[in-house]
C-alpha cells in the first residue's frame, strides 16, 4: 500500500468550493430525474435506463465532490475496493433479477 494518505483526504486539502459544485450538480441531476417522471415525457422502456444514468451520475458526483474520491495515489485503494464492490453488486442484483425472471417465465 502506498504510504501517503491512503484511505482518505488528509485534513488540509478540503475546500468549500468543491462542496458547492457538488451540491449544484446533485440538485440539477435530482431535478432532471424528478422532472422527467413528473412530466411523463419518457416512453416506458426508456424510464429505467435514463433514470439509471442520472442516478449513476449523481452517485459519481457524491463520490468525487463529497467523498473526495479520485485517481490519486491516496485514494487508489479506496477505488479498488469500490470497484470490487461494484462487481459484487452487479452480480447480486443482475444475477437475482436474471434468475427470478427466468424462474418466473418457466413457471407460467
Amino acid at each position: 500500500m502506498n504510504r501517503e494518505n491512503t484511505g482518505s483526504v488528509a485534513i488540509g486539502h478540503l475546500s468549500a468550493g468543491k462542496y458547492m459544485v457538488g451540491f449544484g450538480l446533485a440538485v440539477l441531476l435530482t431535478l432532471l430525474s424528478f422532472g422527467l417522471v413528473v412530466t411523463g415525457v419518457l416512453p416506458k422502456p426508456w424510464v429505467i435506463p435514463v433514470l439509471s444514468v442520472a442516478a449513476f451520475a449523481q452517485m459519481l458526483v457524491h463520490l468525487h465532490y463529497f467523498l473526495h474520491l479520485d485517481r490519486s495515489a491516496g485514494m487508489r485503494w479506496n477505488l479498488v475496493a469500490l470497484a470490487f464492490t461494484a462487481l459484487l453488486l452487479f452480480i447480486f442484483i443482475m444475477g437475482t433479477v436474471w434468475i427470478m425472471t427466468t424462474l418466473n417465465s418457466r413457471m407460467m
Binding site: 500500500m1 502506498n2 504510504r3 501517503e4 494518505n5 491512503t6 484511505g7 482518505s8 488528509a10 485534513i11 488540509g12 478540503l14 475546500s15 468549500a16 468543491k18 462542496y19 458547492m20 457538488g22 451540491f23 446533485a26 440538485v27 435530482t30 430525474s33 424528478f34 417522471v37 413528473v38 411523463g40 419518457l42 416506458k44 424510464v47 429505467i48 433514470l51 439509471s52 442520472a54 442516478a55 449523481q58 452517485m59 457524491h62 463520490l63 463529497f66 467523498l67 485503494w77 479506496n78 475496493a81 469500490l82 470490487f84 464492490t85 459484487l88 453488486l89 447480486f92 442484483i93 437475482t96 433479477v97 427470478m100
Partner: protein, 196 residues
C-alpha cells in the same frame, strides 16, 4: 487544542482508520444491494392491494431528498471549518446537519406511520414488505448516524477538536455522504420508477 494536533495519518501517513471504515461502507453497500435486488423482484407484487401510484407522493419525496442532500453539503462545510480550526462553526454546522437529518427521518417516520395506519404496512404485500425493509433499513442507518452525530457534538464541545474527535468526525462524514448515495438509489428505483 491547536490545529497542529494531527491524528495519526493526517498529512503524514496512511489513515488506516478511514480506510478500514471505507471497507465497512463497502460491506454496507453489499447489504443494500441485496435489499435492492429483493425489491427489484418483489416490487410489483401488490397482492391485489395498492401500488406506488396509490401510496407515494413525489413532492414529499423531493423534500426528503433535498433535506438529506443539504445535510451532506452542510456537513462538508463543517469539515472545511474544522480544517480551519473554527470549532464554533463546526458545532453549528453539525447542529444544522443534525436538524436536517432529523427532518428527513421525521418525514420518513410520518410516511411509514401513515401507511401502517391505513393498513398498508409491511405485511400487506410483497411490494410493501420489500419497500419497508429497504427504505426502513436506510432510515435506521440515518437514525444511527444522527445518534453518532449527537455524541460527536458533545465530544467536540467537551474535549475540543483533538485528534481523536477530528478523525471520528471524518468517519462520520464518510458515513453520512454514503447514506446520501444510497438514497439516490432509493428515490430513483423505489419512488421514481414506481411512479412512471
Amino acid at each position: 487544542m491547536s490545529n497542529e494536533a494531527y491524528a495519526e495519518g493526517e498529512g503524514q501517513g496512511p489513515d488506516v482508520k478511514a480506510f478500514g471504515f471505507w471497507i465497512y461502507l463497502m460491506s454496507d453497500l453489499v447489504v443494500f444491494s441485496v435489499l435492492f435486488a429483493t425489491f427489484a423482484v418483489l416490487g410489483r407484487n401488490y397482492a391485489g392491494g395498492p401500488g406506488p401510484k396509490e401510496l407515494f407522493d413525489l413532492p414529499y419525496v423531493f423534500i426528503e431528498t433535498l433535506l438529506l442532500l443539504l445535510s451532506s453539503v452542510v456537513y462538508g462545510i463543517g469539515m472545511v471549518a474544522m480544517q480551519g480550526g473554527k470549532t464554533r462553526a463546526v458545532l453549528w454546522t453539525l447542529g444544522l446537519t443534525f436538524f436536517l437529518g432529523l427532518g428527513f427521518v421525521g418525514m420518513e417516520f410520518h410516511e411509514f406511520r401513515r401507511l401502517i395506519m391505513e393498513g398498508n404496512g409491511p405485511d400487506r404485500s410483497a411490494f410493501l414488505s420489500s419497500f419497508f425493509t429497504l427504505v426502513g433499513t436506510h432510515g435506521l442507518h440515518v437514525s444511527s448516524g444522527l445518534l453518532w452525530m449527537a455524541v460527536m457534538i458533545v465530544q467536540l464541545f467537551k474535549k475540543g477538536p483533538n485528534s481523536a474527535v477530528r478523525s471520528r468526525l471524518m468517519r462520520l462524514g464518510m458515513f453520512w455522504h454514503f447514506l446520501d448515495i444510497v438514497w439516490v438509489g432509493v428515490f430513483t428505483y423505489v419512488y421514481l420508477v414506481g411512479l412512471s
